[in-house]
Protein backbone atom coordinates (compact mmCIF):
# COMPACT_ATOMS: atom_id res chain seq x y z
CA UNK A 1 0.00 0.00 0.00
CA UNK A 2 1.53 3.29 -1.13
CA UNK A 3 1.86 6.35 1.11
CA UNK A 4 -1.14 8.65 1.22
CA UNK A 5 -0.83 11.64 -1.08
CA UNK A 6 -1.68 15.18 -0.14
CA UNK A 7 -4.36 17.24 -1.83
CA UNK A 8 -2.90 20.18 -3.73
CA UNK A 9 -5.56 22.85 -4.16
CA UNK A 10 -4.68 25.67 -6.60
CA UNK A 11 -2.83 28.54 -4.93
CA UNK A 12 -4.28 32.02 -5.19
CA UNK A 13 -2.00 34.98 -4.52
CA UNK A 14 -3.50 37.30 -1.93
CA UNK A 15 -3.42 41.06 -2.35
CA UNK A 16 -4.87 44.12 -0.68
CA UNK A 17 -8.17 43.60 -2.48
CA UNK A 18 -8.11 39.85 -3.02
CA UNK A 19 -8.30 37.19 -0.30
CA UNK A 20 -8.19 33.50 -1.22
CA UNK A 21 -10.68 31.41 0.75
CA UNK A 22 -9.75 28.04 2.26
CA UNK A 23 -10.79 24.72 0.77
CA UNK A 24 -14.44 24.06 1.61
CA UNK A 25 -17.18 21.51 1.44
CA UNK A 26 -19.47 22.36 -1.46
CA UNK A 27 -22.63 20.43 -2.08
CA UNK A 28 -24.98 21.03 -4.97
CA UNK A 29 -28.38 20.33 -3.47
CA UNK A 30 -31.58 20.11 -5.49
CA UNK A 31 -35.04 19.19 -4.31
CA UNK A 32 -38.54 20.49 -3.75
CA UNK A 33 -39.49 22.83 -0.93
CA UNK A 34 -40.04 20.04 1.60
CA UNK A 35 -36.58 18.69 0.91
CA UNK A 36 -35.13 22.20 1.13
CA UNK A 37 -36.72 22.71 4.55
CA UNK A 38 -35.62 19.33 5.85
CA UNK A 39 -32.06 20.10 4.78
CA UNK A 40 -32.14 23.56 6.34
CA UNK A 41 -33.34 22.22 9.65
CA UNK A 42 -30.76 19.45 9.61
CA UNK A 43 -27.98 21.94 8.98
CA UNK A 44 -29.28 24.40 11.56
CA UNK A 45 -29.91 26.99 8.87
CA UNK A 46 -32.96 29.20 8.49
CA UNK A 47 -35.01 28.13 5.48
CA UNK A 48 -33.92 29.99 2.36
CA UNK A 49 -36.93 30.54 0.17
CA UNK A 50 -36.08 34.10 -0.86
CA UNK A 51 -34.66 34.10 -4.37
CA UNK A 52 -31.04 35.20 -4.74
CA UNK A 53 -30.40 35.32 -1.00
CA UNK A 54 -27.91 33.40 1.12
CA UNK A 55 -28.57 32.26 4.69
CA UNK A 56 -25.76 31.26 6.99
CA UNK A 57 -25.05 30.10 10.51
CA UNK A 58 -21.45 30.18 11.57
CA UNK A 59 -19.39 28.73 8.77
CA UNK A 60 -22.33 26.98 7.13
CA UNK A 61 -24.20 28.73 4.37
CA UNK A 62 -26.90 27.92 1.90
CA UNK A 63 -26.94 29.98 -1.28
CA UNK A 64 -30.15 30.21 -3.31
CA UNK A 65 -29.11 29.57 -6.92
CA UNK A 66 -32.47 28.50 -8.31
CA UNK A 67 -35.97 27.70 -7.12
CA UNK A 68 -34.99 24.09 -6.45
CA UNK A 69 -31.23 24.51 -6.27
CA UNK A 70 -28.97 25.49 -3.37
CA UNK A 71 -25.23 25.65 -3.02
CA UNK A 72 -24.34 24.41 0.47
CA UNK A 73 -21.03 25.67 1.85
CA UNK A 74 -19.25 24.42 4.96
CA UNK A 75 -15.71 23.95 6.25
CA UNK A 76 -13.79 21.21 4.43
CA UNK A 77 -13.58 19.13 7.60
CA UNK A 78 -17.37 18.93 7.86
CA UNK A 79 -17.89 17.09 4.58
CA UNK A 80 -18.47 13.62 6.03
CA UNK A 81 -20.67 15.00 8.82
CA UNK A 82 -22.77 16.98 6.40
CA UNK A 83 -23.32 14.02 4.10
CA UNK A 84 -24.40 11.88 7.05
CA UNK A 85 -26.73 14.52 8.51
CA UNK A 86 -28.33 15.25 5.16
CA UNK A 87 -28.45 11.60 4.21
CA UNK A 88 -30.70 10.78 7.13
CA UNK A 89 -32.66 14.08 7.09
CA UNK A 90 -33.50 13.67 3.41
CA UNK A 91 -34.46 10.03 3.46
CA UNK A 92 -37.87 9.90 1.86
CA UNK A 93 -37.44 13.24 0.09
CA UNK A 94 -36.82 13.18 -3.65
CA UNK A 95 -33.61 15.15 -4.03
CA UNK A 96 -30.14 15.33 -5.50
CA UNK A 97 -27.02 15.86 -3.42
CA UNK A 98 -23.74 16.03 -5.31
CA UNK A 99 -20.29 16.76 -3.95
CA UNK A 100 -18.73 19.59 -5.96
CA UNK A 101 -16.21 20.67 -3.33
CA UNK A 102 -13.39 20.72 -5.83
CA UNK A 103 -15.31 21.68 -8.97
CA UNK A 104 -14.82 25.31 -8.09
CA UNK A 105 -12.80 27.51 -5.78
CA UNK A 106 -13.52 30.73 -4.02
CA UNK A 107 -11.94 34.05 -3.15
CA UNK A 108 -13.03 37.31 -1.65
CA UNK A 109 -12.93 40.75 -3.24
CA UNK A 110 -12.80 43.50 -0.69
CA UNK A 111 -12.23 47.20 -0.35
CA UNK A 112 -13.82 50.36 -1.74
CA UNK A 113 -13.21 49.28 -5.35
CA UNK A 114 -14.56 45.74 -5.02
CA UNK A 115 -17.76 46.53 -6.92
CA UNK A 116 -15.88 48.49 -9.59
CA UNK A 117 -13.43 45.62 -10.09
CA UNK A 118 -16.39 43.35 -10.69
CA UNK A 119 -18.29 45.81 -12.87
CA UNK A 120 -15.41 45.94 -15.29
CA UNK A 121 -16.77 42.68 -16.70
CA UNK A 122 -19.84 41.75 -14.65
CA UNK A 123 -23.00 43.40 -16.00
CA UNK A 124 -25.00 43.43 -12.74
CA UNK A 125 -25.96 46.57 -10.83
CA UNK A 126 -23.84 46.13 -7.71
CA UNK A 127 -25.07 49.17 -5.81
CA UNK A 128 -26.20 48.26 -2.29
CA UNK A 129 -29.74 49.14 -3.24
CA UNK A 130 -29.84 46.73 -6.17
CA UNK A 131 -27.45 44.10 -4.79
CA UNK A 132 -27.92 44.20 -1.02
CA UNK A 133 -26.05 42.41 1.70
CA UNK A 134 -26.47 38.58 1.55
CA UNK A 135 -27.57 38.67 -2.08
CA UNK A 136 -26.14 35.80 -4.10
CA UNK A 137 -26.52 34.72 -7.68
CA UNK A 138 -24.88 33.02 -10.60
CA UNK A 139 -23.70 35.54 -13.15
CA UNK A 140 -20.79 36.11 -15.51
CA UNK A 141 -17.40 37.76 -15.31
CA UNK A 142 -16.39 38.37 -18.91
CA UNK A 143 -16.49 34.87 -20.43
CA UNK A 144 -16.59 32.93 -17.18
CA UNK A 145 -19.53 31.88 -15.06
CA UNK A 146 -19.28 32.96 -11.43
CA UNK A 147 -21.31 32.77 -8.27
CA UNK A 148 -21.39 36.14 -6.55
CA UNK A 149 -22.31 36.58 -2.88
CA UNK A 150 -22.19 39.91 -1.07
CA UNK A 151 -20.96 39.22 2.46
CA UNK A 152 -20.43 42.87 3.42
CA UNK A 153 -20.99 46.29 1.89
CA UNK A 154 -17.49 46.21 0.44
CA UNK A 155 -16.89 42.45 0.32
CA UNK A 156 -17.92 39.84 -2.25
CA UNK A 157 -17.48 36.08 -2.04
CA UNK A 158 -16.78 34.79 -5.58
CA UNK A 159 -17.01 31.15 -6.65
CA UNK A 160 -15.51 30.15 -9.99
CA UNK A 161 -14.95 26.80 -11.68
CA UNK A 162 -11.34 25.82 -11.09
CA UNK A 163 -10.24 25.80 -14.73
CA UNK A 164 -11.63 29.31 -15.20
CA UNK A 165 -9.93 30.74 -12.11
CA UNK A 166 -6.68 31.71 -13.88
CA UNK A 167 -8.68 33.59 -16.49
CA UNK A 168 -10.81 35.44 -13.95
CA UNK A 169 -7.93 36.29 -11.60
CA UNK A 170 -5.68 37.48 -14.42
CA UNK A 171 -8.49 39.70 -15.63
CA UNK A 172 -9.13 41.09 -12.16
CA UNK A 173 -5.45 41.93 -11.74
CA UNK A 174 -5.45 43.71 -15.11
CA UNK A 175 -8.46 45.75 -14.06
CA UNK A 176 -6.97 46.49 -10.63
CA UNK A 177 -4.07 48.28 -12.32
CA UNK A 178 -6.56 50.95 -13.43
CA UNK A 179 -7.02 52.03 -9.81
CA UNK A 180 -4.32 54.16 -8.21
CA UNK A 181 -2.96 52.17 -5.22
CA UNK A 182 -3.69 55.22 -3.07
CA UNK A 183 -7.39 54.38 -3.39
CA UNK A 184 -6.38 51.85 -0.69
CA UNK A 185 -7.96 48.49 -1.45
Amino acid sequence: MADAVQARPPRIEASAWLQPLPAATRLSFCGDEAAQNAAAIALGLPSSRTPCRAVSTGARASLWLGPDERLLLAPAAEQATLLTILGSALAGHAHSLVDISQRQLAFELCGPNAALLLNAQCPLDLSLAAFPLHMCTRSVYAKSEIVLWRTAADRFHVEVWRSFSDYVLTLLRTVAREFPPTHGH
Binding site: P51, G66, P67, P123, L124, T137, R138, V140
Partner: protein, 97 residues
Protein backbone atom coordinates in the same frame (compact mmCIF):
# COMPACT_ATOMS: atom_id res chain seq x y z
CA UNK B 1 -28.09 44.26 -24.56
CA UNK B 2 -31.66 43.39 -23.66
CA UNK B 3 -32.87 43.62 -20.08
CA UNK B 4 -34.90 40.49 -19.39
CA UNK B 5 -37.18 40.07 -16.42
CA UNK B 6 -36.53 36.56 -15.13
CA UNK B 7 -39.69 35.37 -13.34
CA UNK B 8 -37.47 34.04 -10.55
CA UNK B 9 -34.59 36.53 -10.28
CA UNK B 10 -35.99 39.78 -11.67
CA UNK B 11 -34.49 42.01 -14.40
CA UNK B 12 -31.13 40.74 -15.64
CA UNK B 13 -28.83 41.53 -18.59
CA UNK B 14 -29.17 39.49 -21.77
CA UNK B 15 -25.70 37.92 -21.48
CA UNK B 16 -26.96 35.84 -18.56
CA UNK B 17 -29.62 34.22 -20.75
CA UNK B 18 -29.89 31.74 -23.56
CA UNK B 19 -32.58 32.05 -26.20
CA UNK B 20 -34.84 29.04 -26.66
CA UNK B 21 -36.91 29.85 -29.74
CA UNK B 22 -40.67 29.88 -30.19
CA UNK B 23 -42.63 28.78 -27.11
CA UNK B 24 -45.60 26.44 -26.66
CA UNK B 25 -44.49 23.90 -29.25
CA UNK B 26 -45.33 20.54 -27.70
CA UNK B 27 -43.26 17.50 -28.61
CA UNK B 28 -45.65 14.97 -30.17
CA UNK B 29 -45.55 11.38 -28.91
CA UNK B 30 -45.59 8.42 -29.10
CA UNK B 31 -43.24 8.26 -32.12
CA UNK B 32 -45.05 5.51 -33.99
CA UNK B 33 -48.29 7.49 -34.10
CA UNK B 34 -46.83 10.87 -35.00
CA UNK B 35 -47.48 11.82 -38.63
CA UNK B 36 -44.68 13.12 -40.83
CA UNK B 37 -46.44 16.48 -41.01
CA UNK B 38 -46.71 16.81 -37.23
CA UNK B 39 -43.10 15.80 -36.78
CA UNK B 40 -41.64 18.21 -39.35
CA UNK B 41 -43.80 20.92 -37.82
CA UNK B 42 -42.39 20.16 -34.37
CA UNK B 43 -38.81 19.98 -35.59
CA UNK B 44 -38.67 22.83 -38.07
CA UNK B 45 -41.78 24.89 -38.82
CA UNK B 46 -41.94 28.19 -36.93
CA UNK B 47 -44.34 31.13 -36.96
CA UNK B 48 -41.32 33.46 -36.99
CA UNK B 49 -43.75 36.17 -36.07
CA UNK B 50 -43.30 39.82 -36.88
CA UNK B 51 -45.02 41.31 -33.87
CA UNK B 52 -45.68 39.83 -30.47
CA UNK B 53 -44.15 36.38 -30.15
CA UNK B 54 -44.21 33.88 -27.32
CA UNK B 55 -40.69 32.58 -26.91
CA UNK B 56 -38.47 30.64 -24.53
CA UNK B 57 -35.48 31.90 -22.62
CA UNK B 58 -33.22 30.20 -20.11
CA UNK B 59 -31.56 32.15 -17.32
CA UNK B 60 -28.58 29.88 -17.76
CA UNK B 61 -26.12 32.18 -15.97
CA UNK B 62 -28.62 32.77 -13.18
CA UNK B 63 -31.24 30.45 -11.76
CA UNK B 64 -30.78 28.15 -14.78
CA UNK B 65 -34.55 27.95 -15.32
CA UNK B 66 -36.31 28.02 -18.67
CA UNK B 67 -39.25 30.41 -18.84
CA UNK B 68 -41.49 32.04 -21.45
CA UNK B 69 -41.72 35.62 -22.63
CA UNK B 70 -43.90 37.75 -24.86
CA UNK B 71 -41.72 40.03 -26.99
CA UNK B 72 -42.58 42.30 -29.88
CA UNK B 73 -40.08 41.33 -32.54
CA UNK B 74 -40.55 44.68 -34.28
CA UNK B 75 -39.34 46.63 -31.23
CA UNK B 76 -37.64 44.02 -29.02
CA UNK B 77 -39.76 45.29 -26.11
CA UNK B 78 -40.96 42.60 -23.69
CA UNK B 79 -44.66 42.59 -22.81
CA UNK B 80 -44.42 39.87 -20.20
CA UNK B 81 -42.37 36.97 -18.88
CA UNK B 82 -43.93 33.94 -17.22
CA UNK B 83 -42.94 30.57 -15.85
CA UNK B 84 -43.15 27.33 -17.81
CA UNK B 85 -46.52 25.69 -17.26
CA UNK B 86 -48.24 29.04 -16.74
CA UNK B 87 -50.74 30.12 -19.40
CA UNK B 88 -49.70 32.71 -21.93
CA UNK B 89 -50.84 36.13 -20.62
CA UNK B 90 -53.40 38.08 -22.67
CA UNK B 91 -51.03 41.06 -22.69
CA UNK B 92 -50.30 39.83 -26.17
CA UNK B 93 -51.62 42.88 -27.95
CA UNK B 94 -52.22 42.88 -31.68
CA UNK B 95 -49.99 40.72 -33.82
CA UNK B 96 -49.15 40.51 -37.47
CA UNK B 97 -48.57 37.02 -38.85
Amino acid sequence: MLLINCPYCGPRPEVEFGYGGEAHIARPTPPESVSAEDWVAFLYLRANRRGVQAERWRHVRGCARFFNALRDTTTDQFLATYRCGEARPDAAGSTTP
